[in-house]
């Protein structure tokens, strides 16, 4: 059950924050409010009138709009087409001939009225995420909604874009609109919310005012006092293990994503890469792993040249890798836990050779890892897809940490994972560092980078803008993430 008897009320002109960790049931709740999912019981009352939403059409006509976490825009359509979709202006009666001019006009008017600049003729796939989000908001506003649901709207934004969004939210509430703001980021909640409802495991566990401290909110969210700090001792960096110079790589569309990156990771230290998602971090890591073509530059793992090496060889030469998108790249959901635990070692001693696999060894390995990494599953032959996100991630971590490593790369290691698993994974990463492995952590959560890293490299538009110490003020790192270098001492090492 994702939602268990939740009651929530939103007043006109207020920002009501719905706070909860990943998988708490926030999105499920809002999808019911928006008519995408139907509740088993309970009711929705709009302006003192009970309503039943069988589809989003009903919700929209009741004055509810929603901006989804993953944008609901057709990439090959123009902005105007996307905004018109479902509420098209037509001529010619039953023929339904599109009136494109009026659709354009509507977009321009709404965009002016609310101060949200969008180009009606641009193709959505050509727009940056910030602009796409504006299109989504304009799309909801043209439908004249009174209540706007924003589902994790800041996940893809830079700190500056987040500020802009918060300003837009303020002006919308000033015009009498109500906003439900779904997030798991405490700072933003405190900055904008009029009221806060905290959700945990499908239930409301409390309401709070914006004055509540972050620690209190976090404790409410997780259900116990949590330390947001990662416990660790100062690093003792040794020899340089990974050395990247002048690295250039393109993204899937052939557009330059990594544009001359230099970095070094030493044995026994954690280098964190901070940056807003989509600034080349993914491509950088994939290039190192042999998953992406290197256009220029060198990658050296001690004496080995990694450029042009297959992913299999990179893994076999002592590199462990947690990919950022677990269900896409990390696990094979139909495979058993045991099979997933040898996904990159199945043809290697002791599990097998180039021809055959020793199933008993694979099974024995699974038993050992399940205990060691506290993976909660019925048995080692359970398909991984049936496990919770946190346990799936532990399978990946267990797999990648169960062989001697020189370099460990973790990309978004705790995305979509419950707090208990986050603490466990963080402690394993520090444990790996303390054993003398060089660790590279990429995360778009600044808190995570600051907590884990001994040095922080900030990436922006394919380049490392600066390498700073984790004690650097957050505002400064935030500015760097937005590409703003000022009097920041560059190249602090």
């Amino acid at each position: 059950m994702a939602n268990d008897h939740i009651d929530i009320t939103v007043e006109p002109g207020e920002v009501h924050a719905l706070l909860g960790e990943n998988g708490a049931g926030k999105s499920t709740l809002m999808n019911q409010l928006y008519g995408l999912l139907q509740p088993d019981e309970g009711q929705i009352v709009v302006n003192d009138e009970p309503r039943v939403f069988k589809s989003p059409r009903d919700a929209i006509s009741a004055g509810i709009g929603m901006v989804h976490q993953h944008f609901m825009l057709v990439p090959v359509f123009t902005v105007a087409e996307n905004i018109a979709l479902g509420a098209e202006e037509v001529r010619g009666g039953p023929l339904g001939w599109l009136d494109r001019r009026r659709s354009r006009q509507d977009v321009i008017e709404t965009s002016r009225k609310y101060g949200l600049p969008v180009d009606p003729d641009a193709l959505v796939e050509d727009l940056p995420v910030g602009a796409q989000q504006r299109v989504e908001i304009v799309k909801a506003l043209t439908r004249e909604v009174d209540l706007l649901i924003l589902d994790e709207p800041t996940a893809v934004l830079t700190p500056q874009e987040t500020e802009e969004l918060l300003a837009v939210m303020r002006s919308l509430t000033a015009m009498g609109k109500s906003i439900v703001f779904i997030t798991h980021k405490l700072k933003e909640v405190k900055a904008i919310a009029d009221r806060i409802t905290v959700v945990r495991r499908g239930k409301i566990v409390g309401t709070a005012s914006p004055d509540t401290s972050e620690d209190e909110l976090a404790a409410l969210m997780v259900g116990r006092a949590v330390s947001l700090e990662v416990q660790k001792t100062p690093a003792e960096p040794g020899r340089t293990v990974l050395k990247v110079t002048g690295l250039v790589a393109d993204d899937d569309r052939g557009i330059r994503a990594v544009d001359g990156v230099d970095l070094e990771v030493r044995a026994g230290e954690v280098l964190g890469i901070a940056g807003v998602q989509g600034n080349g971090q993914t491509e950088l890591v994939e290039a190192v792993m042999g998953l992406r073509e290197v256009r220029a530059g060198t990658i050296r793992l001690e004496d080995d040249d990694l450029v042009g090496m297959s992913t299999k060889k990179v893994l076999r030469s002592g590199v462990g890798y947690i990919p950022e998108d677990r269900s896409h790249d990390g696990v094979v959901k139909e495979f058993s836990v045991a099979e997933n635990l040898v996904l990159d070692m199945y043809d290697h001693a002791p599990y097998g050779n180039a021809f055959s696999i020793d199933l008993s060894r694979v099974g024995a390995n699974a038993q050992e890892r399940i205990e060691q990494f506290d993976i909660r599953c019925q048995s080692s032959s359970t398909p991984v897809g049936t496990l919770s996100g946190g346990n799936q991630q532990k399978v990946v971590v267990a797999r990648e940490m169960s062989r001697p490593l020189r370099l460990f790369i973790a990309s978004q290691p705790t995305r979509g994972v419950d707090v208990g698993s986050i603490e466990f994974i963080h402690s394993r990463i520090i444990h790996e560092r303390d054993q003398g492995t060089a660790v590279l952590v990429v995360s778009s959560e600044l808190d995570e980078v600051v907590g884990l890293a001994d040095r922080i490299a900030v990436m922006y538009r394919g380049r490392i803008l600066a390498i700073v110490s984790p004690d650097t003020p957050r505002e400064e790192i935030g500015l760097l993430m937005a590409g703003i270098t000022g009097d920041t001492p560059e190249g602090e090492k």
Binding site: L85, G86, G96, G254, L479
Partner: protein, 422 residues
């Protein structure tokens, strides 16, 4: 903030690789054009190739020395390739490509027709007639695929259409009853496809292939049980009449082909126009395309994704069923087992070759129809070029197209994916 400077990084765009699509196509055209000039030119006898503007050898004709023509057109094809390769006139690259291919075909024809004659009216008419089911089948595919439902069951819809048209057409003694039954035959297959793939989420390609076998079996079974023992009662449908529009029908070549024709020709042409504008200019089209590209986005603005998919697949069934009617109500006077013989798959090829657009599919269908017509023509003049190889042309052309050698064919993003809420 005043001391801060925004890093002014230039927008980085990947440098264009040397082997662009134009270059590759240009080189290919140069090669085949040169080959045509040398090979066809040396094989062609120095006799006149006559292209008569009638249905036989009589009347006015365009005529050219075979050898000269083969060399000339081969060189023209190569020249078009040269322009493409040099990167000149980039805006005209598609026109140049078409011109180059046309020149290559003409070079080939000059070689083959030298010393003989080719009746243009007959060729054009035959091309259009052979293309008819392909046009209709491919349009059926467009309807389904643009809304996200893969339809590999066009072959089955053809068979059911052809069978239904013959059976009911004969029993009712009316070609119109036959035509309607053909449409219903297509809809039956479409309905099973729709229910299984949209409601029961069975893999669309799997359902499609199984339905082809199902249609083959059931029409074959009923053919042997009903039609074979008693053809008079069940398998002698009336034929679709040819109508002539006075005046227009007197235009040379085009007139007798387009304006002295059966209803199916006009239905097919009208559907091409209708579906083209329907998809690009109407509410139905916008929603159809949205559902085929991003069904969740369509759902969130209140569009009934499954309902629209049902509608389009069933409409496709009507169109493909009418395409099936061609086989029994126009081309031959009766149904035989497996009479469509893979035409549904050529229609599928035309759909893909035409990049999932109505107009593109129409062009591809005409091209494939021409290849088939040419195969029979070459057989008639006892050409050394085996007809089997010409009949391979649609399949090979599509193979080359999907392999990305002629630019990438992009299917609708959600094509083949069932829509599940949540």
């Amino acid at each position: 903030m005043s001391t801060a400077t925004v890093e002014n990084l230039p927008e980085v765009v990947a440098p264009e690789p040397f082997w662009t699509r134009q270059r590759r196509l240009g080189l290919a055209l140069i090669l085949i054009g040169g080959l045509a000039a040398v090979l066809f030119g040396s094989l062609a006898p120095g006799e006149d190739a006559r292209f008569t503007l009638s249905e036989d050898s009589e009347g006015a004709a365009l005529s050219i020395d075979g050898q000269f023509g083969a060399i000339l057109f081969g060189l023209l094809a190569a020249a078009a390739g040269g322009v493409l390769f040099a990167g000149l006139a980039k805006r005209w690259s598609n026109a140049l490509l078409s011109a180059g291919i046309l020149a290559f075909v003409l070079s080939f024809l000059c070689w083959q027709v030298a010393g003989e004659f080719m009746p243009l009216v007959d060729t054009t008419d035959g091309t259009l007639q052979l293309a008819l089911p392909l046009i209709l089948g491919a349009l059926a595919g467009v309807l389904g695929e643009r809304s996200g439902v893969v339809n590999v069951a066009i072959e089955g819809q053809f068979l059911m259409g052809a069978f239904g048209g013959a059976l009911i057409g004969t029993m009712a003694g009316s070609v119109w009853a036959g035509l309607i039954s053909a449409a219903i035959g297509g809809v039956i297959i479409a309905a099973i496809l729709a229910v299984l793939s949209i409601r029961y989420l069975v893999d669309q390609t799997v359902v499609g292939m199984v339905l082809n076998l199902f249609a083959l079996g059931i029409t074959g079974f009923l053919y042997e049980r009903l039609m074979q023992p008693d053809a008079q009662t069940y398998n002698q449908p009336p034929q679709m009449p040819e109508w002539r529009i006075p005046g227009l029908a007197d235009i040379p070549v085009i007139g007798p082909v387009l304006f002295e024709a059966n209803l199916l020709v006009w239905i097919a042409l009208a559907l091409v126009v209708l579906i083209h504008f329907g998809l690009s200019r109407t509410r139905w089209g916008l929603r159809t395309r949205a559902v085929g590209e991003h069904p969740t986005a369509a759902d969130t603005v209140g569009i009934r994704v499954r309902g629209l998919r049902y509608l389009n697949v069933l409409l496709g069934g009507v169109v493909a069923g009418i395409g099936g009617a061609y086989f029994t109500l126009v081309a031959t006077g009766s149904f035989t087992k497996n009479m469509t013989a893979g035409a549904g798959f050529i229609a599928l090829a035309a759909l893909i070759f035409g990049r999932f657009t109505p107009v593109g599919a129409f062009g591809a269908a005409l091209f494939f129809g021409f290849a088939q017509k040419l195969a029979t023509y070459l057989g008639a003049i006892e050409s050394p070029v085996p007809s089997q190889f010409l009949n391979m042309l649609p399949y090979l052309a599509t193979l080359i197209a999907v392999a990305g050698l002629v630019g990438r064919v992009r299917a609708p993003a959600a094509d083949g994916l069932p829509y599940v809420k949540g």
